[in-house]
């Protein structure tokens, strides 16, 4: 089947039910999305499909075929970073960093839908992404900074 990932098209020969995460990581060597729990509990595997955040560990390859898939590495890179990535750097959010690909992908999708979120809305939107290091206070601040950047205010 055909996979469009970060602007590149790939032909892959995998089972229909292989989770998208493992197609990305083991078949295409795209390691930005992380394996954390395998059951959509932690959000470390979050990618965008047609702009919306999904848990790639729980999306069968078949459902992702022919769609536009964006991973953390396609969201931005060292030259052109996404506003959320800029904010994450500015606030030095990461400790171990393993969950942060997923946090950033969730935040980017969320801010697209809600450019001026309240504190409660941020809490609700981001609580499905687990961070074992406990970087939550910085995640909250970085989202506010990113929102301002995206609105052209910072």
């Amino acid at each position: 089947m055909k996979m469009n990932v970060d602007g590149t098209s790939y032909d892959v020969d995998v089972e229909d039910e292989m989770p998208l995460l493992w197609v990305l990581r083991d078949e295409l060597n795209i390691k930005g999305p992380k394996y954390g729990c395998g059951i959509a509990q932690c959000g470390a595997c979050t990618v965008h499909i047609d702009g919306l955040a999904v848990r790639s560990c729980s999306i069968p390859a078949q459902l992702a075929a022919d769609k536009d898939i964006t991973t953390i590495e396609g969201l931005g890179n060292d030259e052109t970073r996404h506003a959320v990535q800029e904010a994450w750097i500015e606030h030095q959010v990461a400790q171990c960093g393993y969950c942060q690909s997923g946090q950033i992908m969730s935040a980017a999708s969320f801010l697209l839908l809600n450019p001026s979120p309240t504190d409660d809305q941020i809490d609700q939107a981001m609580s499905a992404n687990l961070c074992r290091c406990g970087t939550y206070p910085r995640i909250r601040e970085a989202i506010k900074t990113a929102a301002a950047k995206l609105r052209g205010e910072a």
Binding site: E15, M18, P19, L21, W22, R25, D26, E27, N29, K31, G32, P33, K34, Y35, G36, C37, G38, I39, Q41, C42, A44, T71, I72, E73, L75, G76, N77, D78, R81, Q85, W88, I89, Q92, V93, A94, Q95, C96, G97, Y98, C99, Q100, S101, I104, D123, Q124, M126, S127, N129, L130, C131, R132, C133, G134, T135, Y136, P137, R138, I139, R140
Partner: protein, 747 residues
Amino acid sequence: MADLGKIARRTFLVGSVSIAGGVAFGTYVVRKPHANPLKDDLGEGEATFNPWVKISDTGITLIAPHVDLGQGGASVQAALIAEEMDLDFGQFEVSFGPPAAAYYNAALAEEAVPFLSTDTSFQANMMRGVMTSAFKLLGAQVTGGSSTVPDSFEKLRLAGAVARETLKKAAAKEYKAKVGDLSTESGHVILPDGQRIPYTSLAARAAKTKPVTNVDLRPESEWRLIGKPMERIDIVAKSTGTVRYGIDVNVDGMVHAAVKLNPRQGGALNGFDASKAQAMRGVLEIVPIKNGVAVVADNTWRAFKAADAIDFDWGPAPYPAEMDDHWATLSQSFGEENLDSVWRDDGDLDDELANATSFQAEYMAPYVAHQPLEPISAIVRADDDGAEVWVGTQMPRFVQTNVAAIVGCDPEDVVLHNQYVGGSFGHRLEDDHVKACAEIAVAMKGTPVKVTYSREEDFAHDFPRQIAMGRMQGAHKDGQVSALDISIAMPSVTDSQTSRQPLEAPPGPDSQIAAGAWNLPYTLPAFRMSAYKAPPLAPISSWRSVGASTNGFFADAFLDELIHEAGADQLEERLRIMNDDVSRKVLEAVGEMSNWGSSLPKGRGRGVAFVRSFGVPCAEVIEVTDTPNGIKVDKVFVAADVGKVVDPINFDNHVKGAVVWGLGHAMNCEITYSDGMAQQSNYHAHEGMRLYQCPEILVQGLENGAKIRGIGEPPVPPAAPALANAIFAATGKRLREMPFNKHAKFV
């Protein structure tokens, strides 16, 4: 901070002596120098001054022997070298360093002896000396015990200073100048005429220059980096998804393995039927290993799936199958035959109990899993005469030794590439997964094998935090606490951990059974602390803050009960009995930050707790609200004294993370056993804190302590008692058993 350099030098003779013998390795064992671990793979034109700095004509590499688990260890170690070497961030690469005996961890050994960390008496220093020597002999290159900064603070700055002065000497020869006329700046030696010579172009000359060893460390007033906000070297990569953790590493020709081990940890494999798995797509090999079976496939998911399709006949657990029996064992361990040590016995306890109002309480703390977000994984390629290993580990020397034993070669023939780790909290102090990978690799010689544990397999084989029980009694008289008698029983973490390594448990009592309780800096008419070593139960390991994570809760929450019964103010009474100035200032700081004593609306409560662990006094005040939907944690105020805050940003992030860690697990996490198996298999059943539950956390770092200390663990132990005490203040309900959601509801 008072006179840090002098004190550090007195207790920590490594730096200056280390360089005297030549190229920096002289004193890392008691008698004979360890070999320079970098020398073997030095290329032409490269010079090595010591094990921490490597310069070639193309670049500068700083070696950080403490692995980066997310604590920013790589950054902080590099900053210490760069401070003295006049390097800027961006001018060097950081490598975790090959496993080598020279990188032993002195600070960790210092904490393993039965003296207060504030006790600098002759006897205490003698004992610390002995333990440090023992660690040197073991070559224990271990990351843990909040020891990265204490272990590195002097050593790495000295390394930087020696490198700088030796480069200047080399430049003086090369350019016929006097060393005294040279200076350094941003990776260059500056000649008298202003010409800037890059360090890299001096590498070859420096290699032939006898190192300058009589260097002075710069005074605090001249520091450019230390104490100022830094940008972590990994922050961009960790924000763009480009960091490669151990689990992300690819090696040419690599295959993917999954394992199924007896879920009754340590139990035998009686038999299995892999016929279904064998026939599944992508499956290459089925390999029986110790206590289980591995499936090797061409893709991780296919390996997971095939492993799930194997039928097993497992043997029984080598520990009680049911949880009730674990608790019963602890309950029966408070007897003479299990008494490990009485750590303090001040005053006449019987007399004080008899002549005052006394009462008792029992406290409990469950097994808790580590479960960092990166599941454990490893890559091993076994060859006829050695092996190559790619893994993120806190104890590379042990991994080398253990892999060598399985492969059948010398430890020196195991090449280990340490990797970035996606969180550990003590998990990567274990290496059973690397041993499993080595077994598979031996069955497939020449092929690199990556084993990845599924989250469920990781949970089933997480060596959790110890289970513990506290039997407390105390008394109060005339509105003051007059007696405190703490008895704690737990299986020995040290014994369990060392049983899985080629090590004997160190002699003497296990300090972790008493950590966080016996060393409270309180003077009371009577204060006794007795540690009871329960028989081994489920296998356990070091969990962020180790013994203090359970004992700090027991000791401070019970003290809170006593103070309440005495009718005294919780903060004032703790301050009244406090006998250590550095600790007192920490407690006073959270009092001020939280505006202690100000009134709170009905339904809200405020609790304070103080615990000293890893030499760091740490106090926390927590405010909660008793809402109709449950307890909401509103705010946390934290103060801790580490002697010197190296990077205020990392300090702040670390303290907040440790508070979240301490609170989340106290609220809702436990591992329980039934039929010999852990009943929690993934994050839905062992959740920790989610973002919506995270309180506002305000942090203050104090610098009154004489020694520099690490902050990775010390804010964990006070979190649980501060929360329990706040919940009591808000609701009148005492919580004496973790996790608290057994007895209280949280929003």
